[in-house]
């Protein structure tokens, strides 16, 4: 194994245990908020993975809604009750949809990628609204309390069971995302952000890398959607609306893209702040989001996660030995110039 500074698994595991114990001291409402935050963090995680490849999507709610509605329709039409089965079906729906749309979307970058996703999510929104007879239109669909793994928890403990389920599922998927990030394909995705041309000249496939990442991100969002559906007990077309996608992007930037754990941090902060701020003034909520986003863009580009990194920054290692072929004069300036030139232009496609 290469000597590479790895994050210690102790901290995240400890945090997970704390979260699992939290309901002992927290009110039911807060446990519910945490469930929602953890579930949505999975959708945000998908957005973060794509962002690492330089891909910004304004339509990720498409897969969130796909997951939720797959679960909702499975209850209504297939009479599936089991919660775990519903989650499996949702994942299938999310992976299937993203695998299909990814065929088109994975060719694009930049504004095209962002807006094609937005367009498709708005199509789904329109479908959910319009085909009232099947989807329930604006009324949406109800999701009755599910049995989990065959057990039928009573109302009281259902909330707790769903919380635990969400936590464990999220932890597993976040670990999987961590593995993905450290894998060759995960690194290739980051390399694509820096220099697609080189990736192809190494013989690796840019398209396939983006496609795989896109499907993974879609799958994560669909699980999030189903978890939300089960926790809230009710789903509406708004799950696919642009503002939901915008929220995922917002939380992704708020948390930062520096770690697979950052979406959880961002998501929890977001849900709690919204819970209180939205009550105060519903008409200025989006404006607040916009202003906070501006502040992050200009003053905290690494998001909240970068604060934690600042706190535990390791002391800098010694300077490297002078490089033997470095030009005598102005190596720094020349280096900076090359850095600019080597960056992918992001216009056009």
């Amino acid at each position: 194994m290469g000597p590479r500074p790895r994050p210690s698994p102790l901290l995240p595991l400890g945090a997970l245990v704390l979260f699992l114990l939290a309901p002992l001291v927290l009110s039911g409402w807060i446990v519910f908020l945490l469930t929602v935050a953890w579930a949505k963090a999975l959708a945000v995680l998908g957005v973060v993975l794509l962002l690492r490849g330089g891909l910004l999507t304004f339509g990720h709610a498409l897969y969130y809604a796909a997951g939720a509605y797959a679960a909702g329709m499975a209850v209504k039409y297939l009479h599936v009750r089991e919660g775990l089965a519903l989650l499996g079906l949702a994942l299938l729906a999310g992976v299937g949809t993203s695998a299909l749309l990814g065929l088109l979307v994975a060719r694009y970058r930049g504004v095209y990628f962002a807006l094609l996703n937005l367009a498709f999510s708005m199509v789904l929104y329109g479908v959910l609204l319009k085909f009232y007879a099947i989807t329930g239109g604006t009324d949406g669909l109800g999701l009755p309390a599910p049995p989990l793994a065959g057990l039928r928890p009573v109302a009281q403990s259902l909330r707790l069971a769903l919380y635990d389920l969400t936590l464990v599922l999220a932890a597993l998927l976040i670990y999987a995302a961590h593995r993905f990030s450290a894998s060759p394909v995960g690194y290739t995705l980051r390399a694509i952000r820096d220099n697609e041309v080189r990736v192809e000249y190494m013989g690796a496939s840019v398209w396939r890398t983006i496609y795989v990442s896109y499907v993974i991100a879609g799958g994560l969002a669909s699980v999030a959607g189903a978890l939300i559906g089960l926790s809230v007990g009710h789903i509406t077309p708004d799950l696919s609306f642009w503002s939901q996608s915008g929220e995922f992007v917002f939380v992704a930037i708020l948390g930062g893209t520096g770690s697979v754990l950052a979406p959880v941090v961002g998501s929890i902060v977001f849900e709690f702040v919204r819970n209180y701020a939205f009550e105060l003034s519903p008409y200025t909520w989006q404006m607040t989001l916009g202003i906070v986003l501006l502040v992050i863009i200009f003053f905290l580009p690494g998001g909240l996660w970068s604060l934690s990194a600042l706190a535990r920054r390791l002391p800098r290692r010694g300077a490297p030995p002078p490089f033997r072929t470095s030009p005598r004069d102005g190596a720094g300036a020349a280096g900076a110039r090359t850095a600019d030139q080597a960056r992918e232009p992001r216009g056009g496609r």
Binding site: V123, G246, T284, G348
Partner: protein, 298 residues
């Protein structure tokens, strides 16, 4: 026959509207290489201010004809205030950053403007139909049709013509083309590139607001139109090729006719007509009709 006439008339009206809303988006992108996600919100601002002025003015009981001037005034006010403000204060700081950051920035502005509309005009629907009804109706090929959509077509043609003349026949046009072709060289030639950017962004904002202001008499206004307008304009310019005015015109006509045909022939598909065409075009021509694929020099 009657059906065909209706489809053609509706298609023309819709195409005109599409061109008005998408021309500014594609123009701004063409010059600045930034897709303005707040485009739909500028549209909404134009629409709300236009409707607001017309309603105020109508309440005085004066001649309706001046209402058209008020719509134009509203658009100019919105574009000329919001355009330079957004470009100079915010956009300017991110030109050298990644495209994701530029998109995030215009997204923030879009969120802010979304609430500006709600705070200023509330959430109850607003409808200033006087300029629409005033023009009356006409019988065309056995169809009783309103005059107002033709005004929209006229404005779309005028805007398209003006843009075309500006780009091809004026000094400003030469400057624009020079800046689009090569930013650095232009500025060594003594062109004030930052000013050109402000100007181009403002022009795009005015176009968005004109689209909104002149649509206000046709539909009642509700908050949240911004996102729909943005998505539809993007579909149109993706079909035509990002940055191409001619592409926006072609895209508008194709989408306008297809949508209107769908409305009458297959109403349940009306929503998909636009996106279906977009997906089809992009599948076979990823850069759109008039778009170009840039090959990076290595």
């Amino acid at each position: 026959m009657r059906l065909l006439t209706v489809i053609a008339l509706d298609g023309l009206a819709y195409a005109s509207w599409l061109f008005l809303v998408s021309a500014g988006l594609t123009f701004t992108y063409g010059v600045l290489r930034v897709l303005n996600l707040a485009h739909g919100n500028l549209y909404a601002l134009g629409a709300y201010l236009g409707a607001f002025l017309v309603l105020r003015y109508a309440a005085t009981g004066s001649a309706v004809i001046l209402g058209y001037g008020l719509l134009l005034l509203a658009a100019l006010v919105v574009g000329i205030i919001a355009g330079p403000l957004i470009e100079r204060v915010f956009l300017r700081r991110v030109y050298s950053r990644e495209e994701e950051v530029q998109l995030l920035l215009t997204f923030s502005i879009s969120l802010i403007l979304e609430d500006v509309v709600k705070l200023t005009w509330g959430v109850t629907p607003m409808f200033a139909e006087m300029p629409y009804t005033y023009l009356g109706r006409v019988r065309l090929g056995g169809v009783n049709y309103a005059w107002y959509p033709f005004l929209l077509t006229g404005i779309a043609l005028a805007m398209g013509g003006l843009l075309w003349l500006t780009v091809t026949r004026t000094r400003l046009g030469k400057v624009l083309i020079s800046v689009i072709t090569d930013r650095e060289i232009s500025s060594t030639l003594g062109i004030n590139v930052p000013r050109v950017y402000t100007l181009a962004f403002t022009l795009g904002a005015v176009l968005a607001a004109i689209g909104g202001a002149f649509t206000a008499p046709m539909f009642s206004l509700v908050p949240g139109v911004g996102a729909d307008v943005l998505v539809i304009s993007f579909a149109v310019i993706a079909i035509g090729g990002l940055g191409s005015i001619g592409g926006a015109a072609l895209g508008s006509i194709v989408v306008g006719l297809a949508r209107s045909a769908a409305v009458y022939l297959a109403p349940e598909l009306d929503l998909f007509a636009i996106y279906f065409i977009m997906a089809l075009v992009l599948l076979f021509r990823p850069q759109g009709f008039f778009g170009e694929i840039e090959v990076r020099r290595i």
